[in-house]
């Protein structure tokens, strides 16, 4: 059995799961999240002022808090509206996000390194001039 955390996320709020649930596989976790999305949507729709369930999604994390997959309620509630989320898509999205973040950091480091080199070169020139003068 593997431990999964189910954060429920809206554009303005994250309800972080601090307890987690044990499931045999990612597929089982996905199916339970799917079922929960239906149940929670039903409660929201029946409750006066419950709001639009389409704005929510489950983000499912593994024991080490790595994002495993996302389950947007809108895709559960409107299964014909688009491709259904599969576990690997969540993993790939996570990888793409991390890759983009790494590239951005690499670019920032390159800029800072060039600036440091420029400063070092400038100081070196000034020291050489001072020694000659």
């Amino acid at each position: 059995m593997r431990l999964f955390y189910f954060d429920m996320v809206s554009p303005t709020r994250r309800d972080r799961d601090e307890v987690g649930i044990l499931y045999p596989s990612v597929d089982d976790a996905y199916l339970e999240a799917h079922r929960a999305a239906v149940e929670i949507s039903r409660d929201l729709l029946l409750r006066s002022g419950g709001g639009d369930p389409n704005i929510y999604r489950f983000e499912i994390f593994d024991r080490d808090r790595n994002l495993v997959l996302e389950v947007p309620f809108r895709e559960v509630l409107n299964p014909g509206a688009g491709a259904r989320v599969r576990p690997m898509e969540g993993v790939m999205e996570s990888l793409h996000r991390n890759l983009a973040r790494s590239r951005a950091l690499k670019a920032e480091l390159a800029v800072q390194l060039a600036e440091a080199r420029r400063c070092a070169g400038s100081m070196s020139n000034r020291l050489a001039k001072a020694a000659a003068g």
Binding site: F6, V19, E32, E39, F58
Partner: protein
């Protein structure tokens, strides 16, 4: 819980209580998840749960299951089988549990001999039926939040009646899966509702213990009214007759 207290919680007094208790001479220990009786099975015993938690459960062909009743220490099990000869649902231990057992034929003979014992078991069966109605209302009409709040109020009330709660704290060894099977919800939804009850300062739950931090608000959230449990005060004969008349279990004449 002592067997004597369990027997008295049925409303039996003095000699009736002593004679009835004397039938429950044997004890059986059940491991967590162990089956006491299977669905549709004929059991030669009537059992009283002395220690631990158990449930009556029905399992669908694909493995999904619905808990029909939660048994706490002091509860009489197998009441349906006592009348109908076989169990309508499986009885399974939710924790390590101990049951005291009497031979069903001995109990049936004693009912004939001592009508008060039959009346007490009849009352316990009727109360179980009313508790099932209350669960049915919850499954059909209450939101997930209301269902969970109601269940926690019920468990606390019953544990107090059994003398097993200290103020607002009692054992609560139920897993999220157990709760999901009782409330007809997914585990993920139960998980969220538990966290919501915590976040709103209504309960604390951890290490198998439940603490109700704000009982008036939790009671209101679950729409809980304890009347259906019919636990206290122990019924006198007159109360019994009123009870039986109210639910059409006795001849008004």
């Amino acid at each position: 819980m002592s067997l004597d207290r369990a027997v008295r919680s049925l409303g039996l007094q003095d000699t009736d209580a002593a004679v009835f208790a004397s039938l429950f001479a044997s004890q059986r220990t059940l491991a967590k998840s162990e089956l006491l009786t299977d669905e549709g099975a004929r059991s030669p015993f009537v059992s009283i749960l002395v220690d631990g938690f158990a449930q009556a459960v029905r399992v669908l062909a694909d493995g999904r299951q619905q808990c029909l009743a939660l048994f706490l220490p002091g509860d009489c099990l197998d009441l349906t089988a006592l009348v109908l000869g076989r169990s309508s649902a499986a009885t399974r231990a939710l924790t390590l549990a101990t049951v005291a057992q009497a031979r069903m034929t001995d109990v049936q003979a004693l009912i004939t001999e001592r009508p008060q014992i039959g009346r007490a078991l009849w009352r316990a069966t009727a109360l179980r039926g009313i508790a099932t109605e209350e669960w049915l209302v919850g499954l059909g009409r209450r939101s997930a939040f209301e269902r969970l709040a109601h269940l926690m109020c019920e468990v606390m009330h019953r544990m107090r009646a059994a003398g097993l709660a200290s103020h607002a704290v009692c054992d609560f060894p139920l897993t999220q899966t157990d709760l999901a099977d009782m409330l007809g919800l997914s585990c993920v939804h139960v998980n969220r509702m538990v966290q919501q009850l915590r976040a709103e300062g209504l309960i604390q739950l951890g290490r198998g213990r439940l603490t109700i931090c704000d009982e008036p608000r939790l009671t209101e959230a679950g729409g809980f009214q304890a009347d259906y449990l019919g636990r206290s005060p122990p019924p006198a004969r007159k109360t019994d007759e009123t009870f039986l008349l109210r639910y059409g279990l006795a001849d008004p004449a």
